[in-house]
């Protein structure tokens, strides 16, 4: 758990025209900037949202806080609070540290060349997500990060693809290969769980960074594309866990039982996660395509 100060929307300072546009479904918010939505009849930025500092204990509390406010504030706040937690707190860093530790253990334990190759890719992806987070931390640097952000976004998208296919491949290996020892099996399943746990955050970071450099339409596209890819990988994991559960019911799970029991509730949380749904959803509507900044 963390206790952190984060910047959240100061709803008292929202322009009346923005409040009206939100209530009429004519505004779209990306990374703290409200744009006129597609079909609103207008284009461009409505308002750069005002922020105020607040303290949160954990994600659940922060989301409750966001949802306990007015309907308009909820629409504005929910995604922004989650994004703030991801960017401004140790939430992401803690997850990344855990993955890095597991990657190190797997790399040490499994010497197969293809595994080492992928572990390198994952370490690179995790590192790039952390760099992107660092660029996002200070909103006042928005104009200065463009040149760094462009190549970083290209790398992130490509590494994300590799990581997703690796999750898919490694789960197939665990399921079908008789050579996977119980120790390796445990590492693989834990690793897939952790990677899937981090992916919505990674995709959201890509989306935020793209928005930050003034490409809201591209940001929307990245988020939707990433969500589709993530849901595909999550589906593979879901099937994997269902098969494992089926084996347990049939009394045929054997030495995989302890792994299943250790991961069951975390897998359930991941598969049913509301946080991830919010992280991978677009605010209502899409940005009007013409006369966009940048």
């Amino acid at each position: 758990m963390f206790q952190n100060k984060i910047w959240v929307v100061d709803e008292a300072k929202l322009y009346p025209k923005l409040i009206k546009a939100i209530s009429e479904g004519k505004a779209v918010i990306h990374d703290g900037v409200a744009y006129w939505a597609e079909g609103s009849g207008q284009t461009g930025v409505i308002q750069h949202l005002p922020f105020k500092e607040t303290v949160v204990q954990n994600v659940e509390e922060a989301l409750k806080m966001a949802q306990a406010t007015t309907v308009i504030a909820t629409a504005v706040s929910t995604g922004i609070i989650l994004a703030a937690i991801v960017v401004q707190t140790r939430y992401l860093a803690a997850k990344l540290d855990k993955i890095q530790e597991t990657v190190d253990v797997i790399a040490k334990d499994i010497h197969a060349q293809n595994i080492i190759f992928y572990m390198d890719k994952i370490a690179e992806y995790v590192g790039n997500v952390e760099v992107a987070r660092s660029l996002l931390k200070d909103r006042s640097l928005a104009e200065e990060i463009h040149e760094l952000a462009y190549p970083l976004l290209t790398t992130l998208a490509s590494k994300r693809n590799q990581v997703m296919s690796f999750v898919d491949n490694i789960l197939s290996l665990a399921k079908t290969s008789p050579d996977v020892s119980p120790r390796h099996y445990e590492l693989i399943v834990n690793f897939a769980q952790m990677m899937l746990d981090i992916m919505p955050v990674g995709i959201h970071i890509e989306y935020l960074l793209t928005s930050r450099i003034g490409k809201p339409r591209l940001a929307e596209h990245l988020l939707l594309d990433g969500a589709e890819q993530f849901n595909g990988a999550l589906g593979v994991y879901k099937n994997f866990m269902n098969e494992l559960h089926r084996d347990l019911v049939k009394g045929q799970i054997g030495n995989r039982k302890s792994v299943y029991q250790a991961i069951e509730s975390r897998a359930m949380q991941l598969i049913k996660s509301e946080e991830n749904k919010i992280l991978l959803s677009l605010p209502t509507g899409r940005v009007a395509p013409n006369l966009l900044p940048g």
Partner: protein, 247 residues
């Protein structure tokens, strides 16, 4: 003495089962056919279990007590006393199958042995079924209802050996017939499928076959009157939950 659950890979799944299903399972151990409480059952006397009386998840919370009692029923009372635990489920199932002359291999899993037991019940019931009932059964397990005679029975036995949905449907029909005959209640069928329709029409002949099996002198002992319905109920529950996605 207190009920102790012995780690048992074939009973671990009970923790995922619904309250209704566990109640039926427990009922075979706690009450006889006429509704009288069995003196051999310790479950209803367990202090913690009693403390949860009336709660909606009483049986689910104490699934280990139920599984432990089942293991005790399968073991010899005196041996249980010394050992502190009963016998594992596969041993109980094998014992039932040997008594009923069901052929199985030692290396078979409990799931495979249960399929063979279900096959035996269906085979014994087959002769008591009318043509309409046979057709309904074939349809219920996804077979061509035009099949007749020994080829129909052979096809039925084959799909049962394969497990899956056919085995689930048959287990539902068998367990429901037993529940109606021995526990005076119907099962809350977990999943749908062809079996639900076949239940009413097939309860009669399968009930007769089970009753006949239980009255054969060699297997009419009190323990078998409990363990045979128990393993059929377990077989049904296992298949019902194997058919569902947990995640």
């Amino acid at each position: 003495m207190g009920i102790k659950y012995r780690e048992d890979a074939d009973l671990d799944f009970l923790q995922y089962c619904a309250e209704d299903d566990l109640q039926v399972l427990a009922r075979y151990m706690t009450h006889d056919k006429d509704g009288g409480q069995r003196t051999t059952s310790e479950l209803l006397e367990d202090k913690e279990f009693k403390r949860y009386a009336g709660k909606s998840d009483q049986y689910k919370t104490f699934w280990k007590l139920i599984a432990g009692e089942l293991q005790h029923f399968g073991g010899d009372t005196l041996v249980n006393l010394f050992r502190g635990t009963g016998v594992v489920y596969k041993e109980i199932l094998s014992d039932v199958c040997e008594k009923l002359k069901v052929k199985f291999e030692k290396n078979d899993s409990a799931y495979e042995i249960e399929n063979k037991l279900l096959g035996k019940v269906i085979t014994d019931s087959w002769e008591n079924m009318s043509d309409e009932q046979k057709k309904e059964l074939l349809k219920g397990v996804g077979l061509d209802s035009k099949l007749t005679g020994s080829s129909a029975l052979l096809a039925l036995q084959t799909v049962l050996k394969l497990g899956g949905a056919a085995s689930y449907n048959v287990s539902t029909i068998v367990a429901s017939s037993i529940a109606a005959t021995f526990a005076g209640r119907t099962l809350a069928v977990v999943a749908g499928g062809g079996a639900a329709r076949s239940l009413a029409i097939l309860t009669g002949p399968i009930g007769i076959a089970i009753t006949t099996l239980l009255t054969i002198p060699a297997i009419s002992g009190a323990a078998y009157r409990v363990t045979i319905p128990l393993v059929c109920q377990i077989a049904y529950m296992r298949r019902a939950y194997a058919e569902q996605d947990r995640f």
